[in-house]
C-alpha cells in the first residue's frame, strides 16, 4: 500500500510521509474494531496488539524518513533506496499481524532482503559490504531454520494457520510427534536470531557497526520491533500450549542476553557497537515479559510500552550519532566535548541515554518499571534480579557517552552542524521521551487491551 514509486524526486519524501500518516490513520481506525476483518484469506488479521505494534512501527518510520532526508540526497539511487525501505516497512507491518506461517515467512523475507541490500548500500566502503554480506549469510541461515521449523510443524499438525495449530496441539497434547517439538525449537532459534538474542546475536554488532548509521537506526527500531511482534505472536498464539518446551530454553537465552550484552557493551569503544549490544539487552527485557505472560498469564502492556520507549530513545540517539559521527570517527571519543560544540545535541543525547538506562522521569524508566511489575510475581524472579544487576552495569556504558560529552575535551572545537529536519526529529523524540516519562498513564490507558 505504500510502495508506490513516483519519479518526482523532490516530492518523494512528502508523498512517503503522507502515505505513512495515511497508513497510521487507517491503522488507528481499526483500533478495537470488533468486526475483525481478516485480509488475504485469513492470513493477516489485525488485533489490538498488532495495531499497537504497527502504530509504533509507523511512527518510528515517520521520524526515520524525516531524519533520513539528507541521507537520501547524498545517495545516487534515491528511488531505489526509498523503495527498499518501503518494502522493508511492508514486511514489518505484515509481521505484526500475520496469522499464518506463510505470511510469517513472507513478512520476514520481505523485511530482511531489502535490509541486506541497505546494509551494504555504501558501495565503496569495505565495512558496509562486509556488514551486508554477513547479514545476508546469517540471515539466510536463520530463514532456513525458520522454514525447516515451519515444515516440521506442518508435518505434525497439517496446517499453516496459527490458530489451527494451537487448537490441534491442544487437542493432541499427549501424542504430538517428536519432530513437532524439534520444529518449535528450530523456530525459536530462528526468531532469537531475528531479535538478536544471545547466543544468536553475533551478527548484530558487526552489522550494526558496518552499516550506514541511518540504516542501523532502521534496524534497531523498525526491524527489531517487527521481529519482536512476530516472535510474540508466533509463540503466544501458536505455541502457547507447549510453553514448557520453549520457555525453558528462552529463560537461558534471556539470562545469557542480559549478561553478555551488558558486559560486552561496557567494553565497546564504537558507539554503534555499544548500541547494538544495548539493543540485545533491551530485547531480553521484552522476552522476559513474553515468558511471564505465557506461564503466569500477566498482562502484555509492558512489552508495548517498552518497545515504544526503546524505539523513541533509539531514534533520538541514532539521529545524534549520525550527526556527530559524520566525519568518520565512530568511537565514543567522537562525542568528546559535545557539551560545548553543540549543547543542544548534548542535552538531547543525555536525555536519550538516561532513558535507555532507565532513570526517572524518562520513558525508559517507566518501561523498566512496567517490566519489573509484570515479572515480579512470576516464577522468573531470578531473571529479574539478574536484570537489575545488569541494568546497573548498563548505566555504566550509557554514562560513558555523557561523560565524554561534558568531561572530555575534543581536539577540534568546531561546532557540530545540524540540519533543520534532523533537529526537528530530535526535538520531537526527546520531548516524547519526557512526556511519556512524566505521564505514563496516558500511554498505559491508550493500550488497555
Amino acid at each position: 500500500m505504500l510502495a508506490e514509486i513516483f519519479k518526482f524526486k523532490k516530492l518523494l519524501l512528502p508523498i512517503v510521509l503522507l502515505g505513512i500518516v495515511g497508513a497510521f490513520a487507517l491503522n488507528y481506525m481499526e483500533w478495537s474494531n470488533i468486526m475483525k476483518i481478516p485480509y488475504f484469506n485469513n492470513m493477516i488479521s489485525f488485533d489490538n496488539i498488532g495495531i499497537a505494534f504497527s502504530g509504533i512501527i509507523l511512527a518510528t518510520a515517520f521520524f526515520w524518513f524525516i531524519l533520513a532526508n539528507d541521507y537520501f540526497e547524498e545517495e545516487s539511487n534515491l528511488v531505489d533506496h526509498f523503495a527498499l525501505v518501503l518494502f522493508a516497512l511492508v514486511g514489518a507491518l505484515m509481521l505484526t499481524a500475520f496469522t499464518n506461517m506463510t505470511t510469517l515467512f513472507l513478512g520476514i523475507e520481505i523485511m530482511s532482503i531489502p535490509m541486506y541490500v541497505l546494509a551494504a548500500s555504501k558501495k565503496n566502503d569495505m565495512r558496509s559490504n562486509e556488514a551486508g554480506f554477513k547479514y545476508l549469510i546469517m540471515g539466510s541461515f536463520a530463514s532456513a531454520f525458520l522454514l525447516f521449523g515451519i515444515a516440521l510443524i506442518y508435518g505434525a499438525s497439517g496446517t499453516f494457520d496459527l490458530l489451527k495449530i494451537r487448537d490441534y496441539v491442544g487437542a493432541h497434547a499427549t501424542d504430538m510427534p517428536m519432530f513437532f517439538y524439534v520444529g518449535v525449537v528450530m523456530m525459536l532459534v530462528a526468531m532469537c536470531f531475528k531479535v538478536s538474542a544471545a547466543p544468536f546475536h553475533f551478527w548484530a554488532p558487526d552489522v550494526y557497526e558496518g552499516s550506514p548509521t541511518l540504516i542501523t537506526a532502521l534496524m534497531s527500531t523498525v526491524v527489531k520491533t517487527a521481529a519482536f511482534a512476530a516472535f510474540m505472536r508466533l509463540f503466544l498464539v501458536g505455541f502457547a500450549e507447549v510453553s514448557e518446551i520453549w520457555t525453558g530454553i528462552l529463560a537461558v537465552v534471556v539470562a545469557l542476553s542480559l549478561i553478555i550484552s551488558n558486559f560486552s557493551a561496557a567494553m565497546q569503544n564504537n558507539v554503534k557497537r555499544m548500541l547494538a549490544y544495548s539493543s540485545i539487552s533491551h530485547a531480553a527485557f521484552m522476552l522476559m515479559v513474553i515468558m511471564a505472560n505465557v506461564r503466569s498469564n500477566v498482562s502484555l502492556d509492558a512489552i508495548i510500552y517498552y518497545s515504544l520507549a526503546y524505539s523513541i530513545g533509539s531514534i533520538t540517539s541514532f539521529g545524534i550519532v549520525y550527526n556527530v559521527t559524520r566525519k568518520g570517527n565512530e568511537t565514543i571519543s567522537a562525542f568528546n566535548g559535545l557539551g560545548k560544540r553543540n549543547p543542544f545535541l548534548a542535552v538531547c543525547m543525555s536525555i536519550a541515554m538516561l532513558s535507555l538506562a532507565g532513570i526517572p522521569v524518562t520513558a525508559g524508566f517507566f518501561a523498566k518499571y512496567f517490566v519489573f511489575t509484570t515479572v515480579i510475581g512470576t516464577q522468573y524472579q531470578w531473571l529479574l534480579i539478574l536484570a537489575v544487576i545488569t541494568s546497573a552495569v548498563g548505566a555504566y556504558y550509557y554514562l560513558r557517552v555523557i561523560i565524554a560529552m561534558y568531561f572530555k575535551e575534543h581536539e577540534d572545537e568546531s561546532k557540530v552542524e545540524l540540519e533543520g529536519s534532523n533537529k526537528l526529529v530530535i526535538i520531537l523524540t526527546t520531548v516524547l521521551t519526557l512526556v511519556i516519562g512524566l505521564a505514563p498513564g496516558f500511554v498505559a490507558e491508550m493500550f488497555q487491551f
Binding site: P360, V361, V388, I403, Y406, F407, G441
Partner: protein
C-alpha cells in the same frame, strides 16, 4: 499547597537560573534559596500550630491505572529534614562566594534542582513518588561532581553513580514486590500506609528478604560498611559544594529512608536481621574511625569521620527504640550542620594555603586567631562536647543502642573517643604549634567565609544550649514512627 510550593519553587527558580549568566545566577540562586528557607519556616509555623492543616498536604492522581499518586505531606520527621535542607542550601551557596565556577548558571541551577528532589524525597507519601525523587536527586549531584570535580572525577563519579543506582534498583524491585501485595478494595496502591500494611502482612522470611532489598539502597547512600567504598573518593573529588550536598543532606536521605520506608514496612525482617545490620553499622564506626586517624588529607579525614557518624546514626535507628530514633534525628540535624562547616574549613585551608595536607600546615592560630576560634567550635561540635548540638543526639543514640545491647553500645561509644582523637589531633596539627612551612601564609578571612562560619558556630552553640524546640518535634515524630512499627 505549602508542600507543593516547597517542591515547585526551587524548580522554577532553577529554570530561571539556567537562563541567566555569571554573577546574576549566583545572586538569584541565593535569593531563591533564602525564600525557600522562609517558606519552610512558614511550613514549620503551620505545622506547630495546626499539624492537620490541609495546606500541608496535597494529593492528586498521577497514573490512575497504576495507583500512583502525587501525594505529599509533612510529619515531624520530614519538617525537620526540610528545615535542614532549606537551611543548608543557602549556606552552601554562600560558601561558593569565594570560588568562581565556570558556567556557574548551570552549577547553581543544578543545585536548586537538587533541592527540589531532596525536598521531594522528604515529603513523599507515595512509594513510587519517593522512588522517583530519590533517583532524581542523583542526577544533579552526578553532574555537579562530573563537571566541577577534581582530577580523575570521571572514574570516581562513575563508581558513585553505578553504585547508588545498583542499590536503588533493588529498592525499586522491593517496592514493586510490596506494591503487588497491597490490596485496597481489590486495587493495588502505592500509598505509604498501604505499603506499610502490605509489608506487615508478609511472613518473617519474606520480610527478611525485603529488608535487605530495601536496606541495601539506603546503606549505600549513607554509606554503611561495607558499602562505603565509593564515598571517600567521591567526597574528596567533588567540588566543595557538592561534597556538602552529599554529606550534609544526601546522606540523610539514607537514614531518613530507613526510618520512614524500612522500619514500619518490615518489623519482622528487622527483628531477624536488625542485629546483623547494627553489627555492620558498628563495625563501620570502628573501621572508619581507625582509617580517619591515619589520614593526612583533612578533607579525606572528614569523609571517613562522616562514615563513623552515620554508622552510629544507623545503629540507633535500627535499635528501634525511642531514644535511638530520636537521637538519630537530632544527630542527623547536628551532623548536617557541622559537616558542612568542616568541609568548608577544608576548602578555606586549600584556598588560603594551597594545601589540605595536615603535615604541611601548622601554627595557623598565630596567623589568624578568629579562624582558630571558629574552627575550634566546629570541631567541638563534631566531637559532641556537651553544650554543642552534637551532644544531644550522640547521647541519646548511645543510650538507645545500649538498651538494645550493652556490648554493641560499648563499641558504638568508641565513636566518641576515636572521634575526639582524630578531630582534636587534626586541629592540633593544623592550627597549633609552629609553622612547618614558611611559604604558607594565612591571611584574614573574606566576609562571606566569616559569615558562614559564624552562622554554623551560632547554630552549633545555640542548639547545643537550647535544643528543646527541635527535640520536641523529634520526640513527637519518634512516637509516631514507633506507633507505625508496632
Amino acid at each position: 499547597m505549602l508542600t507543593v510550593l516547597l517542591i515547585g519553587f526551587p524548580l522554577l527558580a532553577a529554570l530561571l537560573v539556567f537562563c541567566t549568566r555569571g554573577n546574576t545566577a549566583r545572586g538569584l540562586a541565593m535569593a531563591a534559596s533564602v525564600i525557600e528557607f522562609i517558606i519552610s519556616l512558614a511550613a514549620l509555623y503551620q505545622f506547630r500550630h495546626n499539624p492537620d492543616s490541609p495546606s500541608l498536604s496535597f494529593d492528586c492522581t498521577w497514573v490512575a491505572s497504576l495507583g500512583i499518586h502525587f501525594s505529599v505531606g509533612l510529619d515531624g520527621l520530614s519538617i525537620l529534614m526540610i528545615l535542614l535542607t532549606t537551611f543548608l542550601i543557602p549556606l552552601i551557596i554562600l560558601t561558593s562566594y569565594s570560588n568562581t565556577y565556570k558556567n556557574s548558571h548551570n552549577f547553581y541551577g543544578l543545585m536548586l534542582v537538587m533541592q527540589m528532589a531532596l525536598v521531594g524525597v522528604f515529603v513523599a507519601n507515595d512509594g513510587f513518588l519517593f522512588y522517583v525523587f530519590w533517583e532524581l536527586a542523583l542526577i544533579p549531584i552526578y553532574f555537579i561532581c562530573l563537571m566541577w570535580g577534581g582530577e580523575n572525577r570521571g572514574a570516581i563519579t562513575f563508581k558513585f553513580f553505578v553504585y547508588t543506582l545498583f542499590g536503588s534498583l533493588f529498592m525499586l524491585v522491593g517496592f514493586i514486590y510490596l506494591y503487588n501485595h497491597t490490596n485496597v478494595e481489590g486495587m493495588k496502591s502505592w500509598a505509604m500506609q498501604d505499603l506499610y500494611n502490605a509489608g506487615k502482612s508478609l511472613n518473617a522470611h519474606q520480610q527478611g528478604i525485603l529488608f535487605w532489598m530495601i536496606f541495601i539502597a539506603f546503606a549505600i547512600k549513607m554509606p554503611i560498611f561495607p558499602f562505603h567504598t565509593w564515598q571517600p573518593d567521591t567526597y574528596v573529588n567533588a567540588p566543595t559544594q557538592g561534597t556538602m550536598l552529599l554529606s550534609g543532606i544526601m546522606l540523610k536521605m539514607g537514614t531518613f529512608g530507613v526510618i520512614k520506608w524500612l522500619l514500619p514496612i518490615v518489623p519482622l525482617g528487622l527483628e531477624k536481621w536488625g542485629g546483623t545490620a547494627i553489627g555492620l553499622s558498628v563495625a563501620g564506626i570502628v573501621y572508619a574511625s581507625c582509617i580517619a586517624i591515619a589520614q593526612k588529607d583533612f578533607k579525606r579525614l572528614i569523609a571517613y569521620s562522616s562514615i563513623a557518624h552515620v554508622g552510629l546514626i544507623s545503629a540507633g535507628i535500627l535499635s528501634a527504640n525511642q531514644q535511638g530514633i530520636q537521637g538519630a534525628i537530632m544527630q542527623m540535624l547536628a551532623h548536617g550542620v557541622s559537616v558542612v562547616g568542616l568541609f568548608f574549613i577544608a576548602d578555606i585551608l586549600l584556598l588560603h594555603t594551597g594545601t589540605r595536607e595536615m603535615d604541611k600546615l601548622g601554627g595557623i592560630r598565630s596567623m589568624n586567631g578568629n579562624f582558630a576560634v571558629l574552627f575550634l567550635i566546629i570541631v567541638l561540635g563534631a566531637v559532641a562536647l556537651p553544650l554543642t548540638n552534637g551532644f544531644v543526639g550522640e547521647f541519646l543514640l548511645i543510650n538507645g543502642v545500649y538498651q538494645y545491647n550493652a556490648i554493641v553500645a560499648a563499641f558504638a561509644g568508641l565513636t566518641v573517643i576515636l572521634g575526639a582523637v582524630y578531630m582534636l589531633r587534626s586541629y592540633q596539627n593544623i592550627m597549633l604549634g609552629e609553622r612547618k612551612d614558611s611559604n604558607i601564609a594565612f591571611g584574614p578571612l573574606a566576609t562571606t567565609e566569616k559569615a558562614v562560619l559564624i552562622i554554623v558556630c551560632a547554630v552549633i552553640i545555640g542548639f547545643g544550649v537550647y535544643p528543646k524546640p527541635l527535640n520536641d518535634i523529634a520526640e513527637e515524630a519518634t512516637k509516631v514512627i514507633l506507633m507505625n512499627i508496632k
